[in-house]
């Protein structure tokens, strides 16, 4: 069958052959649209908020050695920050987190640190900067944990934000700038 252009057939007297061409053409266009639609849909799925249950399933000791399950903060906007005292950029961003926790804690915001560090160093630093949210002790093993949660480069700081429904809505390698944090919180803490 010769591939005749479809456009000239429009408005021209119908012949069975032309009709067949039109049908084939329409099928091709339809299939292309469907494929495009599927591609977009899949892209949307990939980019859609991820399930945060792996984060909420974590249980780690706090600075007093008590095991803390992250699931206790289910239903809050949960910001999990992997950090260490030996990581200057981590320490530099934490005052913003402390301010946000003080300002928005009552609105359902909960920061939780996971320190890739030793408990005595964490305790000392937490006291020094008056940390107002828990920092759990992950040790060096927490780096592997963060890798499993998307921190492919295994570097710090690494931050994961879960919305109230427990979906991961943002992950960040490197400092989370105050302006960006505030914009995210505006959206996540606004009443549904």
């Amino acid at each position: 069958m010769s591939a005749k252009p479809i456009a000239p057939a429009i408005g021209a007297p119908d012949s069975p052959r032309r009709r067949r061409h039109l049908l084939v053409g329409a099928a091709v266009v339809g299939a292309a649209a469907l494929a495009g639609g599927i591609a977009l849909y899949q892209q949307g799925q990939r980019a859609a908020p991820r399930d945060g249950s792996a984060v909420l399933a974590l249980v780690l000791p706090d600075v007093d050695g008590r095991q803390q399950a992250l699931s206790q903060w289910r239903g809050k906007v949960l910001i999990v920050n992997f950090w260490a005292t030996w990581c200057a950029p981590c320490r530099e961003e934490m005052p913003h987190f402390i301010a946000a926790q003080a300002r928005d804690g009552a609105k359902g915001l909960q920061f939780v640190g996971i320190a890739v560090d030793q408990v005595d160093k964490v305790r000392e630093f937490a006291q020094e900067i008056r940390l107002n949210y828990p920092s759990l002790i992950g040790g060096l093993g927490a780096i592997e944990l963060s890798k499993a949660l998307g921190n492919e480069l295994a570097a710090l700081p690494f931050t994961i934000i879960l919305d109230r429904s427990g979906s991961v809505v943002h992950t960040q390698l490197g400092p989370l700038k105050a302006a960006r944090l505030d914009a995210l919180l505006d959206r996540l803490l606004s009443p549904a």
Partner: protein, 162 residues
């Protein structure tokens, strides 16, 4: 119609980019073994030369740098001075950028003997991330006394970045 479809597509693309979390720094950052390349050679049966090549935009902490070897021992030495950097928590610290070489005395290294050299290092990127302590190791053979220094051996397989 087409314009509206385009606008919708643009909005969708923008929305997905936001939802995915902007990749931020990730694509530009090197994995630690490329940012901090460790190599070493045996100069003579009494001297090991260890070297770090730090990529532009990255730095190593002097007080986190350690070299050990087995079964031959290396004696501890004063590491070269680094660039001073003020750290609010740790006070003044020293960092290395570019190339840093350290000559370490070997204890009772017999020519032909194989030794494994371990380096522990910890560094950061100016872009605002730090890497956890990074143990690396490589294997060297002690050259005969009076022979030319052995070649530099890299901790990573050759051909990966050359």
């Amino acid at each position: 119609m087409a314009e509206r479809a385009l606008a919708a597509l643009a909005a969708l693309a923008f929305g997905t980019a936001i939802a995915a979390g902007l990749p931020g720094l990730a694509p530009k950052l090197l994995p630690p073994e490329q940012a901090f390349r460790f190599s070493a050679r045996v100069l003579d049966p009494a001297t090991l030369e260890a070297r770090f090549d730090v990529a532009d935009g990255y730095y190593l902490y002097r007080d986190k740098l350690r070299f050990t070897a087995e079964p031959v021992q290396v004696l501890p030495v004063d590491l070269p001075r680094g660039q001073r950097k003020h750290d609010e928590f740790f006070g003044d610290v020293e960092t290395y950028r570019g190339a840093v070489t350290v000559r370490l005395p070997l204890v009772a290294a017999a020519p032909g003997k194989t030794l494994v050299v371990h380096a522990d290092s910890q560094g950061c990127a100016d872009a605002g991330v730090c890497y956890p302590p990074n143990p690396q190791q490589l294997t060297l053979v002690v050259p005969a006394a009076g022979a030319k220094p052995g070649p530099y051996v890299e901790a990573m397989p050759k051909g990966l970045f050359r």
